[in-house]
């Protein structure tokens, strides 16, 4: 199990290998990276900030739900200034069976986006956008 908010690039290989266990047969991993276009909006970079102590607490709460079902969990979110293609988030679940791995990995990323205090400031070609904020 690993939960982390980090300024460093995310080491996908180390995290992936940490999820391969003899006890589990299925691993599902979600990776979110910085996308250039969202419809017509072109992004140049994204700056992520966080309320780190609370964010890690909230991530642990989510992970605990999945760990309690006997699975392994990795949740790592990068913060700071990220460029196009950089990986912002890595979520992984190792489970005895694949349907559970998929279901719980999707649960973790969906909930992370709803509850974990991380914010993005999107530098788009036309203007700056604060993620999550309604105009």
């Amino acid at each position: 199990m690993k939960i982390e908010i980090t300024h460093e690039p995310i080491d996908t290989e180390a995290l992936t290998q940490s999820l391969i266990h003899n006890e589990y047969g299925g691993v599902d991993i979600f990776i979110g990276n910085i996308r250039q276009f969202t419809d017509d909006i072109e992004t140049e970079k994204i700056e992520y900030t966080t309320y780190k102590k609370m964010a890690e607490k909230e991530m642990h709460k989510l992970a605990d739900v999945v760990l309690a079902k006997g699975m392994d969990v990795v949740m790592v979110h990068r913060v700071g200034e990220l460029q196009l293609g950089d990986i912002a988030v890595f979520i992984g679940v190792a489970a005895p069976h694949r349907a559970e791995a998929f279901e719980n990995c999707q649960f973790l990323i969906d909930e992370l986006k709803h509850t974990v205090p991380i914010w993005k400031k999107e530098y788009d070609r036309d203007k700056i956008r604060w993620g999550g904020l309604e105009d």
């Binding site: 900030t49 609370m54 979110h77 986006k113 205090p117 604060w130 999550g132 904020l133």
Partner: protein, 79 residues
């Protein structure tokens, strides 16, 4: 009481702001006090939650003596 700010509020107001709170207060009082000082951010505050001691706070009464840290949590957008 110092209140932590994040995201657009931190960038425009600063990482913290000082708020006068009664010894018994509601989380909504914190938002109202900031709105009174910075009416420009009413819309952001309306969309924000209050965290007390690193937990999302229901709008129930808190005692200032029991509280170590207050933060305003604008809509999150990680991932």
């Amino acid at each position: 009481m110092k209140v932590k700010l994040f995201s657009i509020l931190a960038e425009e107001i600063g990482p913290t702001t000082e708020v006068d709170l009664k010894s018994e207060f509601y989380p909504s009082d914190v938002k109202q006090a900031i709105e009174d000082a910075y009416p420009k951010y009413k819309e952001v505050l309306d969309q924000s939650l209050v965290a007390i001691d690193e937990e999302y706070a229901d709008d129930k009464q808190f005692s200032l003596n029991d509280v170590a840290e207050i933060a305003i949590i604008p809509p999150v957008s990680g991932g």
